[in-house]
């Protein structure tokens, strides 16, 4: 029947390529029964040309100017017949003004913001095309993956244990045991799913996997002379396209399938997938940057510009995406919808998310249209939305990010306060009482699950280095050690860097255990950083964004060397999953609203029921009433956590249990291994039920049953 329709036939022809007017929606390139429909927006262009390439060829085989009648409103739409969707690469040439903020350049071919695949870096670190014609090219993707019965796991946010990781770094090191052709790829990660299951986490947060140009930096490592690489990838070149360089099948254009196969198998293993997405800026940089896509399509719409036409730089990366322009916010929303519908992604962490709440002139909005529309979008209804609630323009919104009851936040205050407490700073006990109970001071009208708790992440020291370095050592980044944070709240335990001193090494190890014990018993959502469970080190570099070397790749031999730490973390995760009382959705009420005999949470010090809130105090204990777990819907054991960050041992009097139940010792970081931690459910009875001696800088967790 289709061939009886009048729109089945072309009306125009150029160089043997037949075409007719297209449909303005959906935007992007869509495979239709008789060819491909291309639709692209530009409000200020005076002309547009579709440029077609065959895969692998430097020069185009056809350029088709859009006829005036092919422009519908501000959308150029064309339907091209009989193209080979497998081998087609395409782009656009726009003409228009180059004044007052416009940056049209008809000598440049630009990629489709809605392109589903971007070629140009099909293999990691390999430049496919010369930079002068069209280096990054849009392609079509076949959306025929067989998901079988896969669906979102819909784990409640407060029940997640998130593992932040870098796809390439996870298996690139030869010690990973992954075959060379799969090392550093989605497939390599898929091979390692059994490890993630063994660790016990139930969510991975992948650092950027949208296409980016790892070769974009002109600088070199001042020590080795090697080219610096954009390893982290916070510099998007195509929002809808997965990074081919992260796929063993990238050179076959099958990165989409490979990522889907990974997501499908992670879901089978009970692990959700959150993507770290970068919408605050693009790889086009400032006025000196390359014209790759948005700049050449409609600069004034896609970027925030100052009145003089220069780029606002709230991202610290040269430009700022104009997220609250109606057209741009539509693109961001459709992009996220696409990742959820097509790739079954379970959530997003938004890099420098405060940019998403700025108006077109850069001012913070109280009710940002983009954030509101994402919060109420029907396709995004069940996905996790997590904000890095600050930006590089000085906006810091931890606790005040416009959340619409949906958004969680990377809790930077949790990170800083726990770090300060761990290094025995004075005046931290009161703050710790708030941090361990889900930061109700920050999220009073929201839930504990608004707080993504973390002590380390990709930004900053690894956990090992947090207790091995007082200062950053970023000289290899080629920025004279000026990059990276200075407020690390780290403590080297008295020697900077590696040492053979057994006492210092024992202290560092204990501090690492203390950190994990606190993180994994705190209310809120814990996030671990890849490799911390095996003491990965970056040798004091706290901003390792530009090294595609062993500095960043996870060295799996650490797993054997630090099997005790892995075992400790694994059991802490298991304990958290076994005890609903640690995963309360709602804030504690500090009262006994169920008549169990004691309030949901109570605080203690060296003396039971008498916390010492004074500035000089470095010790705090708290007890969670199991009867109040999950607001009483999932009764659990009682849990008592005591933290002594004083530099001497302290005797802690323990609140008595009110019936025949006894306190059992789950972990004691001050005890020698293997008595530092026990199997979940098989914890030994505490000999003295009235109190215990808590070692210097140690944490104890008891379970009452």
């Amino acid at each position: 029947m289709l061939d009886q329709r009048i729109d089945y036939y072309p009306t125009h022809e150029k160089d043997g390529v037949k075409y007719r007017i297209g449909r303005p929606l959906p935007l992007g390139a869509t495979i239709v029964p008789n060819g491909v429909n291309f639709a692209i927006f530009s409000s200020a262009a005076t002309a547009c040309t579709l440029v077609l390439f065959k895969e692998g060829e430097e020069q185009p085989y056809c350029e088709i100017p859009f006829a005036p009648e092919f422009r519908i409103g501000n959308i150029f739409a064309i339907n091209v017949f009989d193209v080979d969707a497998e081998t087609l690469e395409y782009g656009f040439r726009f003409d228009g003004p180059n004044t007052a903020g416009h940056k049209f350049d008809k000598t440049k071919i630009v990629s489709d913001p809605y392109g589903k695949i971007l070629s140009g870096r099909d293999e990691w670190g390999v430049e496919q095309y010369a930079p002068d014609v069209y280096p990054f090219r849009s392609r079509l993707m076949f959306e025929d993956f067989d998901w079988e019965a896969d669906k979102s796991l819909n784990v409640a946010l407060e029940d997640l244990v998130i593992y932040e990781m870098h796809v390439r770094g996870f298996t690139k090191h030869e010690s990973s045991g992954v075959a060379e052709q799969e090392a550093g790829t989605f497939a390599g990660l898929r091979r390692k799913i059994p490890y993630l299951k063994e660790l016990g986490i139930n969510c991975v947060e992948l650092m950027p996997i949208f296409e980016y140009d790892e070769l974009e930096f002109p600088r070199t490592n001042p020590f080795t002379g090697a080219k610096l690489i954009n390893y982290w990838g916070y510099s998007t070149t195509a929002f809808f396209a997965p990074k081919a360089g992260f796929a063993a099948t990238g050179k076959f254009g099958m990165q989409g399938d490979e990522l889907k196969a990974l997501v499908k198998d992670l879901h089978k293993a009970g692990i959700e997938v959150i993507l770290d997405v970068v919408f605050n800026h693009t790889a086009e940089g400032d006025h000196r940057g390359r014209t790759l896509s948005l700049r050449g399509i409609d600069n004034k719409v896609y970027y925030m510009l100052a009145p003089d036409g220069s780029y606002f730089n709230f991202s610290g990366c040269g430009n700022t995406v104009n997220c609250n322009h109606p057209v741009v916010r539509q693109m961001v929303k459709q992009c996220l919808q696409y990742w959820v519908a097509e790739y079954h992604i379970d959530g997003f962490r938004f890099d420098l998310a405060s940019v998403l709440g700025r108006s077109q002139d850069g001012n913070p909005l109280s009710n940002p249209p983009l954030l509101e529309s994402l919060s109420y979008d029907p396709i995004l209804a069940n996905v996790k939305l997590i904000a890095e609630a600050w930006d590089a323009g000085g906006l810091y919104q931890v606790g005040s990010f416009p959340g619409y009851g949906r958004w969680a936040e990377w809790n930077g205050k949790y990170r800083d306060d726990v770090r300060c407490f761990l290094k025995s700073d004075p005046g931290m006990v009161g703050k710790m009482a708030l941090r361990v109970q889900g930061s109700p001071d920050l999220y009073e009208f929201r839930s504990n699950s608004a707080s993504i708790n973390f002590i380390t992440c990709h930004d900053g020291f690894t956990l090992n280095d947090q207790f091995s370095y007082n200062s950053k050592h970023n000289e290899a980044n080629g920025e004279n050690n000026n990059d990276g944070a200075n407020d690390n709240h780290s403590w080297n335990c008295s020697v900077e860097g590696h040492t053979q001193d057994p006492a210092i090494n024992a202290l560092r190890e204990r501090q690492i255990k203390n950190a994990f014990a606190i993180l994994l018993t705190s209310q809120g959502v814990p996030m671990l950083y890849m490799g911390d469970e095996m003491r990965r080190t970056q040798h004091g570099n706290n901003n390792a964004y530009c090294h595609d070397t062993e500095l960043n790749w996870l060295d799996w031999s650490h797993l054997e060397k630090h099997e005790n730490i892995f075992r400790f973390v694994q059991r802490c995760v298991e304990f958290r999953k076994a005890h609903a009382v640690l995963r309360s959705k709602h804030h504690f009420q500090n009262k006994d609203y169920l008549g169990s005999g004691k309030p949901d949470i109570t605080f203690h010090g060296a003396k039971a029921w008498q916390p010492d809130w004074s500035d000089g105090s470095r010790a705090l204990a708290y007890m969670l009433c199991g009867a109040h777990a999950k607001s009483g819907f999932l009764p659990d054991d009682d849990v008592y956590v005591a933290m002594n960050m004083f530099w001497e041992a302290l005797w802690f009097e323990i609140p008595e249990l009110d019936d025949k139940r006894k306190w059992h010792v789950f972990l004691n970081t001050g005890a020698d291994e293997p008595s530092d931690i026990f199997d979940v459910g098989r914890e030994p009875i505490l000999l003295d039920q009235h109190g215990l001696l808590l070692g210097a800088r140690s944490v104890v967790v008891l379970v009452g049953r």
């Binding site: 080979d84 497998e86 799969e182 790829t185 497939a187 076959f252 099958m254 490979e258 990974l262």
Partner: protein, 113 residues
């Protein structure tokens, strides 16, 4: 002259497609024409790739297409003589488990029987 030779035969109700050469953008359309009727006619198919030097992304798509067509009538495809690199790519792309795999045509026939 195509760089792919396609021969088809039948053994005990099993459709056998033997390929010699390369499956790429040039040869894949012809392969598709040959494969489609076979996929519709047989419930069990052996695709003998032991003499295939290389398979491009287009070729991979055609093999996947074969699977989709035969799946409609609950059929099975066995791939014989697949090289290691192709097996790795198909695993990475997530569709190796759609197929039965055998070292050779003979072993494939034995597996089906």
């Amino acid at each position: 002259m195509y760089a792919l030779e396609i021969s088809t035969s039948e053994h005990a109700g099993i459709g056998i497609v033997s390929l010699v050469g390369e499956i790429d953008a040039n040869t894949a359309p012809v392969l598709e024409l040959e494969l489609l009727p076979i996929a519709r006619r047989y419930n069990r198919i052996i695709l003998d790739l032991s003499a295939v030097k290389s398979v491009s992304s287009v070729g991979l798509r055609k093999i996947l297409m074969l699977y989709r067509v035969i799946k409609v009538h609950d059929g099975q495809i066995l791939i014989a003589g697949m090289k290691d690199d192709l097996r790795s790519i198909m695993w990475a792309a997530g569709f190796l488990n759609y197929f039965i795999v055998a070292e050779s045509l003979q072993m494939g026939l034995a597996a089906f029987e």
